[in-house]
Amino acid sequence: MSHTTATPISEHDSHDEHHGPSGLLNWLTTTDHKIIGLSYTITAVVMLVIGGALAELIRAQLASSNGHLVSFAQYNELFTMHGSVMIYLFAGPFAFGALANIIVPIQIGAPDMAFPRLNALSYWLYLTGSITMLLGFFTTGGAANFGWVGYAPLTSSLNAPGAGADLWIGGLMLTGFSAIFTGVNLVATIFYLRAPGMTMFRMPIFTWNLLVTAILILLAFPVLTAGLIMLYADRHFGTHIFSVAGGGVPVLWQHIFWFWGHPEVYILALPFFGMATEIIAVFSKKPVFGYKGMIFATISIAALSLGVWAHHMFTTGVVLLPFFSIMSLLIAVPTGIKIFNWIGTMWRGEIWFSTAMLMSIGFLITFLIGGLTGIYLASPPLDFFTHDTYFVVAHFHSVVMALVLAGMGGLYYWGPKITGYLLNERLGKAQFWFLFIGTQVFTFPQYILGLQGMPRRMAVYPLHNEWVSLNALSSVGALLIGVSTLFFVVNIIVSWKKYPAGDNPWDAQTLEWFTTSPPPHHNFYRLPQIRSERPTWDHNHPEHKSIAHGTHEE
């Protein structure tokens, strides 16, 4: 147990040296947020590759109208596990477990997360939850096959009798607890471990977004966990909470699931918004335009997100359409403010088109497409027309692929801080173009297919010339996205310990760039004076210091 002080000024301060175990034992016993964050990152990227491989199989099946690559039953497992792996095991944990774990404490000048052992437990629950869910593929009945949303009564023991469904429920419970513990840790760290002078309105936007994300996690995840316990009880203890036969209400599952599920969209998105904000400011050589506006927009999005769950349930006929439509449309306002501010940050900036910046611009464009089509879906008449068609699939894939672009930007931006080495920029840019173009080629045909009425979750479809070509085009897009992942893997191999980064290779602004790359145990040898949201910039560019909020330049 080490007691850490706020001002370890001297270089190589003795108590900051770590004398713990090494190798495998270090990985099993570490409580260092950076190693835990790295473990999260590696696990999440592995999940991205697994989820991506499942997607490639889906698109290979759909490349022709009467594909025979997989059976109907296997196809059900594929789309269920693809969605589950991507949402539960990649996007969320990558956002609030991986980069947040590594970066947030350093951005606020903290030596570690507030509860380091709880942080380690979060990772082990995430890893074991992921293994539990994937174990379904190795059971006789196969993996879960009722869609990633697990609607009742498809999840009943009659309709989904195998162990795969129970493993899906168990895996979700474990990863749910992992998320809740991470949420507690992030809130406590940000509230209690900020460096002197790091007031709330001097925190970087990434940290702000993670704080709001953590609050949303604490509000939403317990609801899902409660729902899963009820579902398990229905399947094994003879209760009939979601079963009509016993007087239960199947649509209650949808209320519970989406009360978690729609805030989850923002739990996924807000951290990536934060990444893009940091990257766009640094590579435009400007402070964030409308810093406080960005924060209030984030808080507004979070507040509204708890009142929009039933826009996923418009066609059930039992929800209050005007309320959920108005609330959903309102979210476009703070989101629009964010997009305006991102453009404002770039405006007249000295833009450096690094890989991280390209990924962030790609995020902005793709998210705009996903966001605008989301506005259509918030309108009940349009939603009734497009519900459960490929239009919805295209909409949410635009959104999540935008997040993947931002996440890749985050890896290129913060990777050097974490490892001490830069990635190859040429390979990075090649990856970007494949990923960005692939995403659009993948989603655009799906929008058209949806408007033409093609339902989602079909393993085969009628031999209609236009549908065949549009599906084939979408599969080509998926292939391009797959190739982009290969570029990333090759880049890691080619760049391995080749291009030393230095402490601040991007001339970045926030506190994590003040310390060494990689940071020492407990993160800092010394801290600068913090007088704005850009302490490292202020320290490195005293001639261009930031102007504090609420003051005017004389």
Partner: protein
Amino acid sequence: MRVEAKLLLFLGLFFGAMCAVYWTWSLENAGGVMMFSGMLLCFLPGSYYLWWSRRMKMRPEDDPTATTEGGAGVVGSFPGSSIFPFLMGMGAFLVVLALVFGIWFLIPGLALAVWALLGGTAEGRRGGKI
């Protein structure tokens, strides 16, 4: 601490207002209860922080003019390494497997979880390895 308190109280107030509108308009219970619970979850820590912020000295992290020296002293205790989170994670894993594959998984699962709970508590009291 006031900003933190205001953030939570604002969210609580918003959820309360949203709950009132939604429930009186729809009379749908599930959503009403969930929003009401969300409101309470924000009010509980938010009101505590507000109450406490009026009684405490300004912390260096809340002071815009604080210097790094102003925050000198012990920030907190941080365990260097501990095996107990791993053991607890493995215990939880086995307990979940017991829900699927058979009750006998509960024996090693609960044993690991109890060991980790006791060991972790004792380690917290005496201080773990650096």
